[in-house]
Symmetry: C2
Subunit: 121 residues, 2 copies
Protein backbone atom coordinates (compact mmCIF):
# COMPACT_ATOMS: atom_id res chain seq x y z
CA UNK A 1 0.00 0.00 0.00
CA UNK A 2 1.44 3.32 -1.06
CA UNK A 3 0.78 6.63 0.56
CA UNK A 4 -0.30 9.28 -1.93
CA UNK A 5 2.30 11.97 -2.45
CA UNK A 6 1.40 15.14 -0.60
CA UNK A 7 -0.30 17.63 -2.85
CA UNK A 8 2.25 20.17 -3.88
CA UNK A 9 1.14 23.53 -5.11
CA UNK A 10 3.30 26.41 -6.18
CA UNK A 11 2.79 30.07 -5.35
CA UNK A 12 1.55 32.33 -8.10
CA UNK A 13 0.84 36.05 -7.94
CA UNK A 14 -2.81 36.94 -8.31
CA UNK A 15 -3.62 38.81 -11.50
CA UNK A 16 -3.80 42.16 -9.72
CA UNK A 17 -0.38 41.61 -8.16
CA UNK A 18 1.36 41.15 -11.51
CA UNK A 19 3.58 44.12 -12.30
CA UNK A 20 4.82 45.23 -15.69
CA UNK A 21 8.34 45.71 -14.34
CA UNK A 22 8.40 42.12 -13.10
CA UNK A 23 7.13 40.79 -16.41
CA UNK A 24 9.77 42.74 -18.33
CA UNK A 25 12.49 41.57 -15.96
CA UNK A 26 11.35 37.98 -16.43
CA UNK A 27 11.56 38.38 -20.21
CA UNK A 28 14.93 40.16 -20.19
CA UNK A 29 16.84 36.89 -20.27
CA UNK A 30 17.45 34.95 -23.50
CA UNK A 31 16.65 31.56 -21.94
CA UNK A 32 13.43 32.79 -20.36
CA UNK A 33 12.42 34.48 -23.60
CA UNK A 34 13.01 31.18 -25.37
CA UNK A 35 10.85 29.31 -22.86
CA UNK A 36 8.02 31.80 -23.31
CA UNK A 37 8.22 31.56 -27.10
CA UNK A 38 7.91 27.79 -26.87
CA UNK A 39 4.96 27.97 -24.49
CA UNK A 40 3.27 30.51 -26.76
CA UNK A 41 3.35 28.16 -29.72
CA UNK A 42 2.43 25.02 -27.76
CA UNK A 43 -1.21 24.00 -27.76
CA UNK A 44 -1.01 22.60 -24.26
CA UNK A 45 1.04 22.85 -21.12
CA UNK A 46 4.60 21.68 -21.44
CA UNK A 47 6.70 19.78 -18.95
CA UNK A 48 9.94 21.41 -17.81
CA UNK A 49 11.75 18.29 -18.95
CA UNK A 50 10.81 19.01 -22.57
CA UNK A 51 13.01 22.09 -22.60
CA UNK A 52 16.55 21.40 -23.64
CA UNK A 53 18.26 24.62 -22.65
CA UNK A 54 22.05 25.03 -22.76
CA UNK A 55 22.18 25.69 -19.01
CA UNK A 56 22.26 23.50 -15.93
CA UNK A 57 19.15 21.85 -14.52
CA UNK A 58 19.19 24.14 -11.49
CA UNK A 59 19.49 27.22 -13.69
CA UNK A 60 16.59 25.96 -15.78
CA UNK A 61 14.53 25.54 -12.61
CA UNK A 62 15.48 29.06 -11.59
CA UNK A 63 14.33 30.48 -14.93
CA UNK A 64 10.95 28.77 -14.63
CA UNK A 65 10.57 30.08 -11.08
CA UNK A 66 11.30 33.68 -12.18
CA UNK A 67 8.67 33.33 -14.89
CA UNK A 68 6.12 31.95 -12.43
CA UNK A 69 6.80 34.48 -9.68
CA UNK A 70 6.46 37.38 -12.12
CA UNK A 71 3.10 36.08 -13.32
CA UNK A 72 4.21 35.16 -16.84
CA UNK A 73 3.62 31.42 -16.52
CA UNK A 74 1.63 29.03 -14.36
CA UNK A 75 3.20 25.87 -13.05
CA UNK A 76 1.59 22.80 -11.54
CA UNK A 77 2.59 19.27 -10.78
CA UNK A 78 1.07 16.45 -12.75
CA UNK A 79 2.44 13.34 -11.12
CA UNK A 80 6.16 13.96 -10.96
CA UNK A 81 6.16 16.31 -13.96
CA UNK A 82 6.08 20.06 -13.51
CA UNK A 83 3.81 21.44 -16.20
CA UNK A 84 4.04 24.98 -17.53
CA UNK A 85 1.64 27.25 -19.33
CA UNK A 86 1.60 30.90 -20.35
CA UNK A 87 -0.77 33.11 -18.32
CA UNK A 88 -1.96 34.65 -21.55
CA UNK A 89 -5.44 35.50 -20.30
CA UNK A 90 -4.09 37.39 -17.29
CA UNK A 91 -1.40 39.19 -19.27
CA UNK A 92 -3.78 40.14 -22.07
CA UNK A 93 -6.29 41.48 -19.54
CA UNK A 94 -3.68 43.58 -17.75
CA UNK A 95 -1.60 44.70 -20.72
CA UNK A 96 -3.63 44.34 -23.94
CA UNK A 97 -1.46 43.59 -26.93
CA UNK A 98 1.81 43.53 -25.01
CA UNK A 99 2.46 39.79 -25.02
CA UNK A 100 1.86 39.55 -28.76
CA UNK A 101 4.14 42.53 -29.39
CA UNK A 102 6.85 40.94 -27.29
CA UNK A 103 6.51 37.59 -29.05
CA UNK A 104 6.66 39.29 -32.46
CA UNK A 105 9.73 41.26 -31.40
CA UNK A 106 11.43 38.10 -30.15
CA UNK A 107 10.64 36.25 -33.37
CA UNK A 108 11.94 39.13 -35.49
CA UNK A 109 15.16 39.28 -33.51
CA UNK A 110 15.65 35.51 -33.65
CA UNK A 111 15.21 35.69 -37.42
CA UNK A 112 17.70 38.53 -37.75
CA UNK A 113 20.35 36.90 -35.59
CA UNK A 114 19.92 33.60 -37.37
CA UNK A 115 20.19 35.23 -40.81
CA UNK A 116 23.36 36.99 -39.74
CA UNK A 117 24.85 33.62 -38.88
CA UNK A 118 25.44 34.69 -35.33
CA UNK A 119 22.71 32.40 -34.04
CA UNK A 120 21.25 32.26 -30.63
CA UNK A 121 22.94 29.07 -29.45
CA UNK B 1 40.66 83.58 -22.72
CA UNK B 2 38.89 80.30 -22.07
CA UNK B 3 39.70 77.01 -23.64
CA UNK B 4 36.64 75.32 -25.13
CA UNK B 5 35.58 72.24 -23.22
CA UNK B 6 36.65 69.07 -24.99
CA UNK B 7 33.86 67.62 -27.04
CA UNK B 8 32.27 64.88 -25.02
CA UNK B 9 30.33 62.20 -26.76
CA UNK B 10 28.67 59.22 -25.18
CA UNK B 11 28.69 55.66 -26.48
CA UNK B 12 25.50 54.33 -28.01
CA UNK B 13 24.85 50.90 -29.49
CA UNK B 14 24.26 50.93 -33.22
CA UNK B 15 20.75 49.99 -34.23
CA UNK B 16 21.76 46.46 -35.19
CA UNK B 17 23.43 45.93 -31.82
CA UNK B 18 20.27 46.69 -29.86
CA UNK B 19 18.89 43.53 -28.25
CA UNK B 20 15.34 42.91 -27.08
CA UNK B 21 16.59 41.43 -23.82
CA UNK B 22 18.58 44.58 -23.08
CA UNK B 23 15.63 46.82 -23.86
CA UNK B 24 13.35 44.79 -21.58
CA UNK B 25 15.94 44.81 -18.82
CA UNK B 26 16.24 48.59 -19.15
CA UNK B 27 12.47 48.95 -18.81
CA UNK B 28 12.16 46.51 -15.90
CA UNK B 29 12.80 49.24 -13.34
CA UNK B 30 10.06 51.64 -12.17
CA UNK B 31 12.31 54.72 -12.33
CA UNK B 32 13.55 53.91 -15.82
CA UNK B 33 10.01 53.19 -16.97
CA UNK B 34 9.00 56.58 -15.60
CA UNK B 35 11.84 58.31 -17.47
CA UNK B 36 10.84 56.64 -20.72
CA UNK B 37 7.20 57.60 -20.27
CA UNK B 38 8.22 61.23 -19.78
CA UNK B 39 10.47 61.18 -22.85
CA UNK B 40 7.70 59.60 -24.90
CA UNK B 41 5.31 62.45 -24.17
CA UNK B 42 7.90 65.22 -24.53
CA UNK B 43 8.09 66.99 -27.87
CA UNK B 44 11.80 67.56 -27.59
CA UNK B 45 14.83 66.21 -25.82
CA UNK B 46 14.82 66.65 -22.06
CA UNK B 47 17.68 67.47 -19.76
CA UNK B 48 18.47 64.98 -16.98
CA UNK B 49 18.06 67.80 -14.51
CA UNK B 50 14.36 68.10 -15.38
CA UNK B 51 13.69 64.69 -13.86
CA UNK B 52 12.86 64.78 -10.20
CA UNK B 53 13.14 61.14 -9.26
CA UNK B 54 12.98 59.94 -5.63
CA UNK B 55 16.48 58.51 -5.86
CA UNK B 56 19.99 59.94 -5.50
CA UNK B 57 21.68 61.88 -8.28
CA UNK B 58 24.14 59.06 -8.89
CA UNK B 59 21.32 56.52 -9.10
CA UNK B 60 19.54 58.79 -11.57
CA UNK B 61 22.71 58.97 -13.66
CA UNK B 62 22.96 55.19 -13.52
CA UNK B 63 19.38 54.78 -14.76
CA UNK B 64 19.99 57.08 -17.73
CA UNK B 65 23.16 55.17 -18.56
CA UNK B 66 21.35 51.81 -18.53
CA UNK B 67 18.74 53.28 -20.88
CA UNK B 68 21.41 54.64 -23.22
CA UNK B 69 23.55 51.50 -23.25
CA UNK B 70 20.54 49.31 -24.04
CA UNK B 71 19.62 51.54 -26.99
CA UNK B 72 16.40 52.91 -25.51
CA UNK B 73 17.52 56.54 -25.32
CA UNK B 74 20.11 58.78 -26.88
CA UNK B 75 22.09 61.19 -24.78
CA UNK B 76 24.20 64.16 -25.79
CA UNK B 77 25.74 67.14 -24.12
CA UNK B 78 24.40 70.58 -24.90
CA UNK B 79 26.71 72.88 -23.00
CA UNK B 80 26.73 71.46 -19.52
CA UNK B 81 23.31 69.86 -19.84
CA UNK B 82 22.93 66.20 -20.73
CA UNK B 83 19.97 65.92 -23.08
CA UNK B 84 17.91 62.78 -23.52
CA UNK B 85 15.64 61.52 -26.24
CA UNK B 86 13.87 58.26 -26.99
CA UNK B 87 15.34 56.24 -29.88
CA UNK B 88 11.85 55.70 -31.19
CA UNK B 89 12.86 55.39 -34.82
CA UNK B 90 15.39 52.66 -34.06
CA UNK B 91 13.09 50.78 -31.70
CA UNK B 92 10.14 50.97 -34.07
CA UNK B 93 12.29 49.71 -36.92
CA UNK B 94 13.62 46.77 -34.93
CA UNK B 95 10.49 45.86 -32.97
CA UNK B 96 7.41 47.32 -34.70
CA UNK B 97 4.67 48.20 -32.25
CA UNK B 98 6.58 47.14 -29.15
CA UNK B 99 7.38 50.56 -27.73
CA UNK B 100 3.78 51.71 -28.07
CA UNK B 101 2.55 48.50 -26.42
CA UNK B 102 4.96 49.00 -23.56
CA UNK B 103 3.96 52.63 -23.10
CA UNK B 104 0.27 51.69 -23.11
CA UNK B 105 0.91 48.92 -20.58
CA UNK B 106 2.83 51.31 -18.33
CA UNK B 107 0.08 53.92 -18.55
CA UNK B 108 -2.60 51.35 -17.75
CA UNK B 109 -0.67 50.10 -14.76
CA UNK B 110 0.01 53.61 -13.48
CA UNK B 111 -3.72 54.32 -13.75
CA UNK B 112 -4.62 51.15 -11.89
CA UNK B 113 -2.13 51.68 -9.08
CA UNK B 114 -3.16 55.30 -8.71
CA UNK B 115 -6.85 54.42 -8.59
CA UNK B 116 -6.17 51.85 -5.90
CA UNK B 117 -4.63 54.60 -3.81
CA UNK B 118 -1.37 52.75 -3.67
CA UNK B 119 0.30 55.27 -5.92
CA UNK B 120 3.68 55.05 -7.52
CA UNK B 121 5.49 57.49 -5.24
Amino acid sequence: MTTPAPSRTLDHPRRDAIRLEGVLHALSDPMRLRIVRSLATAEEELSCSLFDLPVSKSTTTHHFRVLRESGVISQCYRGTAKMNGLRREDLDALFPGLLDSLLRAAALQAGRLHEDGRGEG
